[in-house]
């Protein structure tokens, strides 16, 4: 009986953390889209990434949560902030002069995409999502990730490294000063 009470209390705690993380995630996502200053959008993206990392922890994906915070909040958002500071303040008001037909079409297209996702996932997976399969306790730990990544999915690992190298070369070429400046 006491074990049941403890289990339900833990369950309630997980639900509370999940609800807070989900609302923070969606709220900061809306903030990213609606802020007129890109600097504040990039800062709101940090909140979005942090709340997503909390949800990854709830899903027992510890390594992915750590990589999320390191790679996204540590590298990607900092790079965004540098470029926004380099480009300078260029204010853009998304709904200046009243909503245009483009705005209506964009909202309609995004809503249609959302409905399409919900219907497709609901139709495909409504049966198989009801029962959860169980596995070992090492799920999501760095040791487990390392074994799965470097033994079962070694080709994906190597291809990812090549893609990162190509992107780095492309970034250097795009940002180099030595190209002819005739334009």
């Amino acid at each position: 009986m006491s074990a049941l009470v403890v289990a339900s209390a833990g369950n309630v705690l997980v639900w509370i953390v999940w609800v807070v993380a989900a609302f923070a995630c969606l709220g900061s996502g809306i903030a990213v889209v609606t802020f007129s200053n890109p600097f504040f959008s990039a800062l709101a993206l940090i909140g979005n990434l942090g709340s997503l990392a909390v949800m990854y922890l709830l899903l027992s994906a510890e390594f992915v949560a750590a990589a999320q915070v390191l790679v996204y909040a540590g590298a990607v958002v900092v790079m965004f902030l540098f470029v926004i500071a380099y480009v300078g303040p260029r204010k853009e008001t998304p709904w200046s002069g009243g909503p245009s037909w483009q705005t209506f079409c964009a909202v309609a297209a995004a809503g249609a995409l959302l409905v399409e996702i919900v219907v497709a996932v609901g139709m495909q997976a409504s049966g198989s999502l009801s029962h959860e399969s169980s596995g070992g306790t090492a799920f999501g730990t760095p040791a487990w990730i390392g074994r799965v990544f470097l033994v079962d999915h070694l080709l994906a690992f190597e291809i990812t490294s090549v893609v990162l190298l190509i992107a780095a070369v492309g970034g250097v070429i795009l940002g180099s000063h030595t190209r002819r400046a005739t334009a």
Binding site: A7, G10, N11, W15, W18, C25, G29, I30, V32, V33, P38, S41, A42, L45, N48, L52, M55, Y56, L59, A61, V64, Q68, Y72, F80, V83, I84, Y86, V87, R90, E92, Q102, C105, A106, V107, A110, L114, V118, V121, L129, E132, S133, S134, F139, G140, I145, V148, F149, H153, A156, T160, V163, L164, A167, A168, G170, G171, I173, L174, G175, A183
Partner: protein
């Protein structure tokens, strides 16, 4: 599993993907379009990890890590383009950037 079912995570991922798609379609600043793309990639990651936990299959988490690397590559190239545009004193408005010719 303690806490919410996988369907709740998938619902959050779907709504986040919709928000990101709305941002890509509605905003005209190139930087904010790239930030909204990050939102869409993260929504995909959340769905992958939720389903990976649900089916206890490690491929979902590996795929999420790969998506993270691809997102870093995309930001590298995209921000390189933004810097190149800024150096040529071109506008960062995606409506006016209809030609790739410098």
């Amino acid at each position: 599993m303690d806490g919410p079912d996988v369907a709740w995570y998938l619902a959050v991922a779907a709504v986040l993907f919709g928000i990101g798609a709305l941002g890509v379609l509605i905003r005209r600043n190139t930087l904010v379009v790239l930030l909204s793309l990050e939102l869409m990639l993260n929504a995909g990651n959340l769905a992958l990890i939720a389903l990976s936990r649900h089916f206890h299959n490690g491929a979902g988490q590996i795929f999420a890590l790969t998506v993270m690397a691809i997102a870093a590559s995309e930001v590298c190239v995209g921000l390189g383009l933004v810097v190149a545009l800024n150096r040529r004193n071109l506008s960062l408005d995606v409506d006016t950037l209809s030609k790739l010719r410098g």
